[in-house]
Symmetry: D2
Amino acid sequence: MPETMLAVVKPEAKSGAEVRQVPIPKIGDTDVLVKVKVASVCGTDLHIYDWDPWAQHRIKPPLVPGHEFCGNVAAVGKNVTSVKEGDFVSAEMHVACGKCFQCRTGDAHICQFVTIIGVDSDGAFAEYVRIPESNIWKIDPAISADYASVLDPLGNAVHTVLAGEIAGQSIAISGTGPIGLFAIAVAHAVGAYPVFALEVNEHRRKLAKAMKAEYVLDPAKDDVKKIVLEATNGTGVDVVAEMSGNPNAIRTGFEIVRMGGRVSLLGTPTKPFELDFAESIIFKGATVQGIHGRRMYKTWYQMQSLLKSGKLDLSPAITDRMPLKDFTKGMARLKTGEASKILLYPNGMK
Amino acid sequence: MPETMLAVVKPEAKSGAEVRQVPIPKIGDTDVLVKVKVASVCGTDLHIYDWDPWAQHRIKPPLVPGHEFCGNVAAVGKNVTSVKEGDFVSAEMHVACGKCFQCRTGDAHICQFVTIIGVDSDGAFAEYVRIPESNIWKIDPAISADYASVLDPLGNAVHTVLAGEIAGQSIAISGTGPIGLFAIAVAHAVGAYPVFALEVNEHRRKLAKAMKAEYVLDPAKDDVKKIVLEATNGTGVDVVAEMSGNPNAIRTGFEIVRMGGRVSLLGTPTKPFELDFAESIIFKGATVQGIHGRRMYKTWYQMQSLLKSGKLDLSPAITDRMPLKDFTKGMARLKTGEASKILLYPNGMK
Amino acid sequence: MPETMLAVVKPEAKSGAEVRQVPIPKIGDTDVLVKVKVASVCGTDLHIYDWDPWAQHRIKPPLVPGHEFCGNVAAVGKNVTSVKEGDFVSAEMHVACGKCFQCRTGDAHICQFVTIIGVDSDGAFAEYVRIPESNIWKIDPAISADYASVLDPLGNAVHTVLAGEIAGQSIAISGTGPIGLFAIAVAHAVGAYPVFALEVNEHRRKLAKAMKAEYVLDPAKDDVKKIVLEATNGTGVDVVAEMSGNPNAIRTGFEIVRMGGRVSLLGTPTKPFELDFAESIIFKGATVQGIHGRRMYKTWYQMQSLLKSGKLDLSPAITDRMPLKDFTKGMARLKTGEASKILLYPNGMK
Amino acid sequence: MPETMLAVVKPEAKSGAEVRQVPIPKIGDTDVLVKVKVASVCGTDLHIYDWDPWAQHRIKPPLVPGHEFCGNVAAVGKNVTSVKEGDFVSAEMHVACGKCFQCRTGDAHICQFVTIIGVDSDGAFAEYVRIPESNIWKIDPAISADYASVLDPLGNAVHTVLAGEIAGQSIAISGTGPIGLFAIAVAHAVGAYPVFALEVNEHRRKLAKAMKAEYVLDPAKDDVKKIVLEATNGTGVDVVAEMSGNPNAIRTGFEIVRMGGRVSLLGTPTKPFELDFAESIIFKGATVQGIHGRRMYKTWYQMQSLLKSGKLDLSPAITDRMPLKDFTKGMARLKTGEASKILLYPNGMK
């Protein structure tokens, strides 16, 4: 085992990042060291790279970002029993406190004192990453490394789609970035029909079509409400999965959801906005859910089963692959709006 | 049976109302004619009386208002089988279409084509009222006429409080008009603890104290968030039952609800307002519910059981009693802000 | 419209049936007369034909059996508004009372006073059948007549599979008669994986393979428990859908279900039997559900959506088609054990 | 701190127990040592004392039994952060593995690899007991030591009663040993009405009356089904909470539960028995739940809130109090059938 490794580093409180050698993390008695095979880039990583207001408030440099990955166990602490060297794993990067009300009642995904590896401590854009045993997830051999590297955002999609009844229901997916695209596949796999994908970006609509959404609509041009009502016998859509965080998109979601329907909000608006609560929620008898992270670890089991079943074709959403050292190129690709999911390979491309 | 009866009538499209003789309603084969014993005044009736924008848009005079009542069956249509002359009854005044998606899937309370007796057709501020058999509710003899006359708003409170888990949970009731006051009693009866009542009006706070809420707070003066967090070990309240429709009250509700908590919205804001969805709902993993009417007829069965158990003391909320002919005085009393629930007696005060 | 029609008739209290001319049913103001296009044979029809103890107790001859069908509206009563002549329809044949506790709380499928068309009154093994408007289900044009004729048993399968969480879960389907076969397709369509089909009859196992169950096991020969535990990481199956009613099969279901799992019982045992409640249910923290009929009409909406999505290939289960006049041949085919679902055509084979 | 302490010890594999000095447990880095204030005797302790077949199979002497208690923290391991010396605590004695499917999905109460303190390792019938920090429950100061010592069985009652909808519902509690008695109080506190207590033992019926059950029936003499149907408008009881484990009692539970009702089974039958599954479960559309232990730690939070609200009067169920050294007398008292809950005081009676 060498002393140092290649890693993406946010060295100080300004935009940009460096790819350089840093020490390999030391592990404690209950930790696992993972040799990263594939890491995946999230919008959050771009926020950190660009040093936007959220990042300025949250991130304490120096930091190795990266919270989506898979790899093989390189070493384990002496108290670790559930994995051994060589095991192929991913991890839930939200580290819950285990002691708050939420943690003690099965809601660790909304732990009051959560910290996130790759955001609050060094993450997976590196050759190695340290993970507490509690957060390790063993990958079933039937699942490919590419898919294993995107379990975090796929888990967001699964958590959102499965946050209520869905089989035999119609769903509108609002925003088709990577999580929205994954949600199309998930919705189909669990019996939702039809799937309406709502997206203003042309390139993302193209990907939504590749994911086989029954309706791909441009809210800037199409009369979304009219089309949805016609397709649903005038009733409206059963479920809205909101992935964009855009106020107009959210308001549209409330317009098209049926009375008694469900609106699951994952996309995060950057500031407060106006909504007609009486018409949107109250008279409709609607249910609105804030969705955060992935359920620990119910979502992971659901995901594993769906992936093993072969029903999830995520390939259209994975647009770019590159060595970790090209991280900066990846950031540039993301900004073109043409890339969806970018995979990074810290230890070779195969 | 006489030909005419005393009734409150909104004769034309302007403020005010008359108490005068009108024909007794004719019943069809599936209808029930009820001799009204006690009717109860709702805020909606004041909107109709004052001819506010909502009323101007919805009400088609002439109309006999009144949608909260109890009485005895005076006559039944030939196809009616579930009640007979003399039976003591109340009614669900939302008449559902029976054919839309919601009606066919157990959600008739949010029927797409609902009409409301006392709003869209002649109601219960009269000696007699006509009700379709499907909407009649037989009153258990253990329940007093006064309580039987307020099943509609009590049902709102029961529907709201019981719209999710509640036993062994803390609840904040935001707004203590009649429904909020009833909700305090219901929350206690179903094992909620502690109950925080939030109300800016001093007289209503006094009633909330009489209903024995553990905390009665004035959001205009008290540091509600601080008090709630201290009383809940820093976690926040499990449930918010919003009865006021006031934007500030709703925002406060989202501030004090715990991560993963429930916010049930019954009070209807009069216009759109701003909310920080990211902090209020999404990061919190909160569930927000629009609450409308009462579940047909699950809420009614729940109410009946709670009333029969003797656990609901609603008396502090019933502040005024008067003959139907004094309806205009009742409206004046409501406007003083000192009356909560006003009961009207069309056929004598006992 | 002629006066008489061809129908299967159970003329008196003994085994057998006749195919003969009978009067076409008269309809009332709220009834619909349907010209039957395809009817489908259920095991219940064989019980009636064979005059077994259940039939002797329940059936009052003369009776036209048949409760699975589709067809076109031939005439409507004067109060009927939701369908018109020519519409392609099926029907829920459980006629609920509408007034009992279950009917008034969204559980009409377990109405205390239900009657069944084709069991308690004349059914669909005829050129025409009379159905109350409330029970008519309009068929979406995307759904074929063959599939439209089996909505009743398909609805049993949908009701059972969707009676709890299922997406991303493993399921064992115990007994692969027609409903079990349909359940395999439904389970796959709603994201269950893997599907274990348990069946002692070789021909039915062959059909289960054609339905693409991941595991098709013979409880008489295979070590079901061992195979299931190996395939589920030692945990057991998440859900058991019991379609056989066989005591041994039910006990096996409880052996293989995981702790905290769900056992949904649709198949009806003919007499009491022994179970180790402590090990099977209590220590396991299992949930056991009695499943009866189809939810009115939630199951129907779910079914419609799943069928329209094209995810349900039911064709392997439909083994025989014949004109209604060959009903007796159909009974003989059923008894060979080689037929699964038999379709009857009262008005021509296309 | 002394080296030894007084404890009840099951010294070898035969009936009986000794009260003698044993070493005080050593604690590890994540353990808490608690000085026991009050311990409470469970039926399980009698099984161990009497060395019945279950005990012979499960218990490995020497063992200090006792799994219901409260006390003050005497010492903490170096990694313990959530409690400190002097804190008043109780504990969940089911120690879950934390790594199995159930533990990782919020169902630790049915952990596949659970061990129980006081059954599988030394327990609380002693001056001191060692508890892992994860299982410690801090007692709210509003809760008395007597009540704090029975949180384990009270938790059984809360878990059972709250395992489904209950507010505004009727419930039959079958068997009124200590948990059944507690369940009466819990049912009332969470809005159940009426409560039917079914019990063949006269002394226990007397206690059930003291707990204020609306109906206290003797299944050996009373026509339970008739009485329940009359009291429920012919519909049957909404919920059955089965605490006896007696086959006849369980069968009676299924006879009186309404269609679509819930039967929650906590009492454990000692061997398999016959049930008519078709009539009892399937045609009824009933839900049957195996109930085990208490939800970690949702039940504990619910319990805490109910106790703090003052709505639970458990005093009739606490029949005996004695010093720990009189343990053998306690066993004798239990066998008379006159004692319900017996409290033991290892460190003085106040």
